[in-house]
Amino acid sequence: MIRLQTAAFDPGAELSSFCAGRIESGAVASFVGIARGEGGEATALELEAYPGLTEAEIGKMAAAASKRFSLDDVLVIHRHGAIAPGEPIVMVATAAAHRREAFEACDYLMDYLKSRAPFWKKEHGRGGARWVEPTQRDLDDIARWDEPRESPRAKPR
């Protein structure tokens, strides 16, 4: 399930409900991304999304991840709008039969979300506001998954 929302969310409650009722998925992995305060330098993060297109594009990646890692289920919650330091921005949870696929799919989806997902990010700080592009590290992270795979279950470098 893909959720794009302006409202805050409770990662613990979301994870409990994602795990509830699973009998065949032996593994659930999750990641929560939180807005950094940057030692008081960052006052707010503003994430612009394009409702409709943003969920559709994330949905395509979630479907690709489900296939690549044989997931039983996937949850992506992503906020947009103004987000204060300390608040969760994004959560990914993946369910699979075994842990390796769940971990890797979660890692893969986060690398995608941090580098290619349809968001435009503006950081508001003491020195004003600026639009943020993916960092070199974000680009290197997503590039790990692009390499040709020899086995159906890819492992990053």
Binding site: L53, L113, K121
Partner: protein, 80 residues
């Protein structure tokens, strides 16, 4: 026709949503109309990595806009 500008394109134009009636026939014509008299905005719309979406579908190259209800210009995506 509803036109949306995202990210730095919206800041540059000074608006993020505007109606164009009657609608122009193509993306190229729409870009010319948006950028009329503003060379910086025109260059930004044709900038590296800027994509267009027609009715929430990303399109490559030019596109006919006859019965289109919404066009968006998307600067390079930053990720979340």
């Amino acid at each position: 026709m509803r036109v949306l500008l995202f990210g730095r394109l919206g800041d540059l134009a000074g608006w993020r949503e505007r109606s164009f009636d009657p609608p122009p026939a193509s993306l190229t014509a729409l870009k010319a109309l948006i950028a009329a008299g503003d060379d910086a905005l025109g260059a930004a719309l044709d900038g590296k990595g800027v994509q267009a979406a027609v009715d929430k579908q990303i399109v490559r190259g030019d596109a006919c806009l006859a019965a289109t209800s919404e066009v968006a210009f998307l600067p390079p995506m930053s990720g979340g």
